[in-house]
Each structure stands twice: as C-alpha cells, then as structure tokens.
C-alpha cells in the first residue's frame, strides 16, 4: 500500500471537499427554509460551469474572478424559479413540488445540451497548470485556490445568516414559517432570496470547479445525487452538517478512487445513500422532516 498515494488521495479529497461543501450548503439552505428539494441543483451547477466557460472563452475572465458573475446569474435564476414556479404550488401536495423541480432539471440539462453540445468542456485557467510540492505530495494550485475560495464563501454565507437581520429572518422562516408570517415577515420575498442564495452558492461552486474538472450536461444528475447524499448524511437543513458532510463525502470518494475502480466508486456512494435513507434520514445534524 503506497502511503504517498493514500496521502495524495486524502489531500485531493479534502481540497475538493470545499466545493462539495459549498454545493451542499446551497441545497440544504433551500430545503431548510422552504422544504423544497431542489432536484435541479446539479443542473444549476453545470450552468454555473458553462457560464464560467463563456466568461473565460469569450470575455477572457478567469473563473476565479468570474465566479462572482456566475453566482449573481444563478441567484437570479433561483429567485425566479421560487417566485415564478414554486410559489404557485405552495399549497399543493408534496409530489407536485418534486415533479416541478424534476421538470426544471430536465429543461436546464437539455437546454445546456442544445446550447453547448454533448462533448465534455473544460475551462483554461492560468493557475490550473501550476503545482506545489509538499514533500512527496503535490498540490494543484488550482485546487488549492478553489478550496480557499469555496470555504471563504461558505464562511461568508454563515456570517450573512447569523450576523445580519435578513439572515436572521431567513433562519426564522426556516424554523417556523407560520411564526415568521405572524410577525409580519414578507415570507414570499424571504423564500425567493433563500432560493436565490442557494442557487448562487451552487453557481459559484460550478465556476470554481470548472478549471479542475471536465464537465458536460449529463454531469448535472450525478452532482445532484452527490448533493443529496451529502445533505442527507449531514442532515437536511443543517448548514454545519452540509459543510462537514461535503468534506467527508469528498474524502470518501477520493479514497475510494485510490482503492477501487472509478465506476465502483459511484456504486458505493449510492449504496451509502440507501443505508442512510433507511437508518438516518435526519442525518448527523439535522432534524427529522415532517
């Protein structure tokens, strides 16, 4: 057993975990506040990647700067999806919400397919080529930067939620929507903002990941599933759970890639999902859903 390989895997996994955490935090926010399961989460992330690609290819903007624009664009998308679609079925049975988001996922994925084609794309960033050496292990500078920015964004999000009035209102709406309504909160606006912020997280995550991973429209599905995996493990609605879960899952995947065939890695994560679903759908940190 090559220790270097294992250490490499661990480091790689940890660094990538930053992105997973950001992605999962976005999903858990949307669920925590609105009890909406965003089936289009992975597809939104793919759009973040493609937008970063467009900015880089057409505008010459490095993804490590462009992620701001991607986040803003996805914020708008999330805001509109909530305001225009999800809001209309608030009183409908739960299944309707699942089908709605499935429809959004289908539309987004195939719009990307039509717009960008099925071939894998990658974004060129000057940093992507650089590597650092820590003894026997090497670190992609790109991965390092991605990790740092992703963690910084996650911290910024928690500052927003815990230190600002709007953030506190969002948390209150997540805790007890009717209570928030009673004290005069514009709940519809809060919902739209929350969805927008969740989508912005995943848009930024997409942009940050675009230089290190090749992507294509069908990537959206596996990203969605990974997001669900992380959020269910960490606890639906728990930000800390999503953060920790993201790191854990990324580490597990990375180590899995060291020891197993890459396709079996996915098998493992689906099996893990089933086990968690059966025994702890509330996750490590979360509350049991109603």
């Amino acid at each position: 057993m090559d220790l270097t390989l294992v250490l490499q895997g661990l480091l790689s996994g940890l660094l990538f975990g930053g992105v997973y955490s950001l992605m999962a935090v976005g999903l858990t926010l949307i669920f925590g506040v609105m009890r909406v399961v965003n089936f289009a989460h992975g597809d939104m992330m793919v759009w973040g990647m493609y937008l970063a690609y467009l900015l880089a290819a057409r505008g010459g903007i490095d993804p490590y700067l462009g992620f701001v624009a991607c986040a803003a664009a996805l914020f708008a998308l999330g805001f509109l999806v909530q305001r225009g679609l999800v809001d209309r079925i608030v009183d409908s049975p739960h299944e309707m919400q699942i089908l709605l988001m499935l429809g959004v996922a289908l539309a987004l994925e195939n719009l990307a397919l039509v717009a960008f084609g099925p071939e894998p794309t990658r974004v060129r960033s000057p940093l992507a080529a650089a590597t650092l050496w820590l003894g026997p292990i090497f670190v992609d500078v790109a991965r390092l930067v991605t990790f740092v920015v992703a963690v910084a964004l996650t911290l910024a999000l928690s500052l927003f939620l815990y230190r600002t009035d709007l953030g506190r209102t969002i948390r209150a709406a997540a805790d007890n929507t009717y209570g928030a309504l009673v004290i005069g909160t514009d709940v519809r606006r809060v919902y739209a903002v929350a969805f927008g912020v969740g989508a912005a997280c995943v848009g930024a995550a997409g942009a940050l990941v675009s230089p290190i991973l090749p992507f294509q429209p069908p990537t959206g599905l596996s990203l969605s599933v990974t997001s669900f995996n992380i959020v269910i493990i960490g606890g639906m609605g728990s930000l800390l759970g999503a953060f920790v879960g993201g790191l854990l899952v990324s580490l597990a995947e990375s180590l899995g890639a060291v020891f197993l065939r890459p396709s079996l890695k996915e098998l493992l994560s689906f099996s893990l999902l089933i086990v968690i679903l059966l025994f702890r759908p509330a996750g490590l940190f979360g509350r049991r859903p109603s």
Partner: protein, 236 residues
Amino acid sequence: MSTLLRLDGLEAGYGDLTAVSGVSLEVRQGEAVALIGSNGAGKTTTLRAISGLLPVRAGRVEFDGARLDGLGSAQIVARGIAHVPEGRQLFPTMTVRDNLELGGHAADRRQRDDALELVFTLFPRLRERERQLAGTLSGGEQQMCAIGRGLMARPRLLLLDEPSLGLAPVTVKLIFETLRRVNDGGTTIMVVEQNVPRALQLSHRGYVLENGRIVLEGSRESLLASPHVKQAYLGL
C-alpha cells in the same frame, strides 16, 4: 374613546368551509375586549382575518379609519397590529433574545434595546432565560416570550389567541395580570379565549362567538351575569 378596530359583517373560512359569517364588533382605543367561544367557534379565524393571515371573503376590517381587508400580513403588522398566535409559534432553535428581537421593527438599535428592556421588565423570567433556546422553555415561559415578541413591535393593538391554552392555572393568573399591566400602559388589547372567567376578568367588554356568529355582546358584568354564558361556558 375613539374606535380603533372595527369589523363589519366579516366573513372568512377555509376552502369550502365558511368559519365566520356576519361578524361585527369594535374595539375602542385603550380598551381590553374579549372574544369568547368554544372550540371551533371561529375565534382564531376572526383574528387571522384581522391580521391578514386569512383572506377576508366579505365585509370590512377598519383600523384607525383605514381599511385593512385586502392588505397582506406584513403591511398590517406595519400598521401597528401585533398578533400573538394560538400555540405561540416561536422560533424554537433560536434564543429568547432572537425571538424577541425578530418581533421588533425599529431599525434603530436604541429603540430596539428600549423595547427589549420594557419586555424584560414585564417578564423578568425572560431576562433570566435570554440566551436560552425558545424550544426549551416551559409552556408558560413560551407564552411570555410570544407576548413579549408581540410587544416588541410597540403595537397599537395587541391580538392574543388563547394565551391560557395548556397552561397551569397559576401561570395563567400571572400572564393575565401582566396583560392587565400592558393594557393599563395604553396598549389596546383584544383577547380570544375559551377560558371565559379569565378573559372577562381582564376585559371591559366582550363578545360571544358561536358557530361563526356573534350571539351576545356586552360589558364584563352583563356577560358574567348572563344565564347563557353561565350555562354554556362557566359550567354552572
């Protein structure tokens, strides 16, 4: 005393069900008014309609001369009506302080702190529990917190939906005494209750709601003496 709140032929309900119909009442500035009735009479529906939590199907709601019906709940709160809902509806994973502060609107930090101070003076127990999570409070403390949250908005009218629900008699006594102090301080109160003795003790006037209609109204004394009230609600 001028009229602060007036309901005229209010009709509201849920889906196909009309829960209240033809409800007319008024609350004058500075008063404490009770709306009493048993389970399912339509008391909560009435309060929700006033607060904009439920659409008004017919009739009018006037507050300080201006129409409220048709406005959203956020706007109605901004006009100066605070609603302490049935079952308290606090934010369980947030602290008492957070819960209270969420009830306030003042952008000004100083105003918010003043309001908080007022609430802590009325409910010293809350000051002790300031940093505690609202979900871990006892029933009585939760009710205090819910009332405090309503008061943080410095409302002109405070609506309370069954504040005595699920509380031990001694706690109910304390809460209603505090409500008396709040009313004495100038805040107009409308309290909806199944606990008729307590509600009438607090109030100057009352209305009796049955099956969504007002069947009786009068001063505290006349209601306490009414044979209908005695038989139906006082078990006597």
